[in-house]
């Protein structure tokens, strides 16, 4: 699969995850979100940027349980809980946010 944006073609897997992490930019994230009827707020970006940093450090996309705990540690308990994260990303915080962040689908429970 693939989509076109600003004259460039981006390859994705069958679930819409970017094939080449290196091609990611913030327009790609905004485009993918728009396709899901989601407008990216600052709170969304906080999670997306966190995931990109996590991937950079560990070379894996974290499972949802690990993401929730890590967000809580970094951004505070009011953000490190399932309710907050599911409100931002109703299709599943790890699954949906990883997609916008250009990462592969998370390893383990999404």
């Amino acid at each position: 699969m693939a989509f076109e944006l600003n004259g460039k073609t981006y390859e994705t897997d069958e679930e819409g995850y970017l094939s080449n992490l290196g091609e990611w930019n913030s327009d790609v994230a905004a485009y993918m979100a728009k396709e899901d009827d989601c407008d990216l707020s600052e709170n969304h970006w906080e999670v997306i940027n966190f995931l990109r940093e996590y991937y950079d450090e560990y070379q894996i996309a974290p499972a949802v349980r690990v993401l929730t705990k890590a967000i809580g540690k970094k951004l505070g308990k009011d953000k490190g809980n399932s309710k907050y994260l599911y409100e931002l990303f109703p299709y599943g915080p790890a699954k949906q946010a990883c997609k916008y962040a250009g990462l592969p689908k998370p390893t383990g429970c999404v």
Partner: protein, 135 residues
């Protein structure tokens, strides 16, 4: 609630020549969601998986070794490394990545995950397990 079982994942292969190490690590990370009593063992060439400063750029493989550092986040914090296997390959504990986990019950204190054990101790550990998976 079903009973917690003791799981051991045994790693016997060097990291990048075959898919055993990478696939095995993925299984551990996925399996971590089931909240069992999990440990990993590194025996034979498997000890190379934990070597510090791996560089796969010449090999054209993804260097997945940083992912071992995420194991603590997944509450996998018992990584047994066989001392004899290290010695036979000219390695010591100082050549391994310093892997740690944070103990939630001890004010998030950082504790080491790697435990170097003798071949005899490894044999006892195997004896204790309910389930053993080989990679």
């Amino acid at each position: 609630m079903s009973e917690t079982k003791k799981f051991m994942y045994i790693n016997r292969h060097a990291p990048h020549g075959t898919v055993y190490a990478h696939e095995g690590l993925e299984v551990v990370l996925i399996g971590a969601a089931f909240e069992q009593d999990v440990c990993m063992a590194f025996i034979g060439d498997g000890v190379f998986q934990l070597k510090q400063d791996q560089d796969t750029s010449e090999a054209g493989m993804k260097n997945f070794s940083p992912a071992y550092r995420a194991l603590g986040d997944y509450e996998v914090n018992k990584l047994y490394v066989e001392r004899e296997s290290l010695q036979e390959r000219g390695l010591s504990e100082a050549d391994l990545m310093p892997l740690t986990w944070e103990d939630e019950d001890d004010d998030w204190a950082e504790k080491p995950s790697i435990r170097v054990v003798s071949r005899a101790e490894m044999s006892d550990l195997l004896e204790e397990q309910d389930v053993i998976l080989n990679f």
